[in-house]
């Protein structure tokens, strides 16, 4: 039986977190939520997740800054960006900073499934 992946969703949208939680739990994940970049850093330090799904436009600390900090904490932590601002420049910036992938909102179930598989591969 596959181990349940522990994944943190970091997004300031309550609606997005609610819907994405359902998708991730369908894909066999244990889900922790964070509302902003500051929270996600604290949660990663506390919960040692298998992966993070990270928005960019967030209060307190935004996603780009959070990504840099998380990579300093754990360079191997798989981080999937999930953002509305999926411009080629943002895509390049986040991948160069070590993000595993970038999903432009609105996401599809297939994209989330693929993201979970990518996180699982890294976790094994």
């Amino acid at each position: 039986m596959e181990k349940k992946l522990k994944v943190i969703i970091a997004d300031d949208s309550q609606l997005l977190r609610k819907k994405l939680r359902v998708e991730l739990e369908k894909n066999g994940c244990e889900v922790i939520e964070a509302e902003n970049g500051k929270e996600v850093v604290m949660q990663v330090l506390k919960d040692k997740p298998d992966g993070v799904i990270l928005d960019i436009v967030m209060p307190e600390i935004g996603g780009i800054e959070a990504l840099q900090t998380l990579k300093e904490i754990d360079a191997d932590l798989p981080i999937i960006m999930l953002s509305s601002a999926g411009t080629p420049q943002k895509l390049m910036t986040t991948l160069q900073l070590g993000a595993l992938d970038f999903i432009q909102k609105p996401y599809t179930s297939a994209q989330i499934k693929k993201a979970v598989e990518a996180i699982r591969k890294r976790a094994e």
Partner: protein, 285 residues
């Protein structure tokens, strides 16, 4: 040519009035395009040939048209299985409300197909005053993305009212949302809606049965604006115009006051709201 905006074309060209458009929009929510209209639009038969028959019931029409050799069974079968868009429901509604007949409708639809410029940008062009000449193109492009997003994410046909740029009545209870796009160009865009419309939009985006404007409802509209602005940012980026999105903002009972501001009334079948575009933040807290 985007076939979703035939209603907008009719309104822009003043073929129908704002009052008629609003009536048609509401009515179109409960109609399906019928075979005579589809047959004419598909070029299977001329409108003149069907102008006396299109008011028949479906079964009466099928019988008459096959008996008289106007349409074959195969053609009728194909028409019955067609996926149709908002434009066809709008067109059917104009027929059933007696605003246009089939010949008139067919003529206007043919002309609509030939027009090269976007009807949405044309609507913005009509509405924008002279002092917004520099902003017209940007606002027009934004409005195109916005109207597409209404259909895609909120499952509602909608029209830009080119005649009435304000919401009717006394909007005591309203909510307003804005988000700034900053970078190579500056734009702040969002919506200003009466509470009942705001709530309906929130229900549609979240696909939840929300009964009041609570945190989830507010968040729903904030996320809709954020997603839509992200899509616009990507379109701009494809034209080498880079922008970043600021955090979206929300307020209650606050009118928009921005510079280079254009407010555009969007009519749907269940109510209206204002699309607001400006050169700077228009929610004054």
């Amino acid at each position: 040519m985007n076939s979703h905006y035939f209603g907008q074309y009719l309104l822009n060209k003043k073929i129908i009035t704002s009052a008629e458009a609003e009536k048609v929009l509401e009515y179109s929510l409960s109609v399906n395009p019928q075979i005579p209209l589809l047959a004419v639009v598909q070029g299977m038969v001329t409108a003149e040939k069907l102008n006396d028959y299109y008011k028949l019931t479906k079964s009466e029409f099928i019988e008459k048209s096959t008996l008289e050799g106007i349409l074959t069974n195969a053609q009728i079968g194909a028409l019955l299985q067609m996926n149709t868009g908002e434009s066809m429901a709008f067109a059917q509604a104009t027929l059933e409300l007696g605003i246009l007949d089939l010949v008139e409708l067919s003529k206007h639809f043919e002309q609509y197909k030939k027009e090269e410029s976007s009807v949405i940008s044309e609507a913005i062009d009509i509405l924008a005053p002279a002092d917004l000449e520099n902003e017209k193109a940007l606002y027009g492009n934004y409005a195109e993305v916005f109207m597409r997003s209404l259909i895609r994410f909120l499952n509602t046909p909608a029209l830009i009212d080119v005649n009435v740029p304000v919401i009717d009545g006394d909007c005591v209870k309203t909510h307003i949302v804005s988000q700034a796009l900053v970078g190579d160009t500056e734009l702040v865009a969002g919506i200003y809606a009466p509470d009942e419309v705001f709530l309906e939009l929130a229900c549609r985006y979240s696909q939840e049965s929300l009964e009041k404007i609570d945190d989830l409802a507010k968040d729903s509209i904030l996320e809709f604006i954020n997603v839509m602005n992200g899509l616009f940012a990507v379109e701009l980026a494809n034209r080498q115009i880079e922008v970043d999105l600021d955090l979206p903002r929300l307020a209650a009972n606050s009118e928009p006051f921005g510079n280079q501001q254009l407010t555009v009334r969007i009519d749907m079948g269940f109510g209206s709201f204002l699309l607001v575009m400006a050169g700077d933040e228009f929610i004054i807290s």
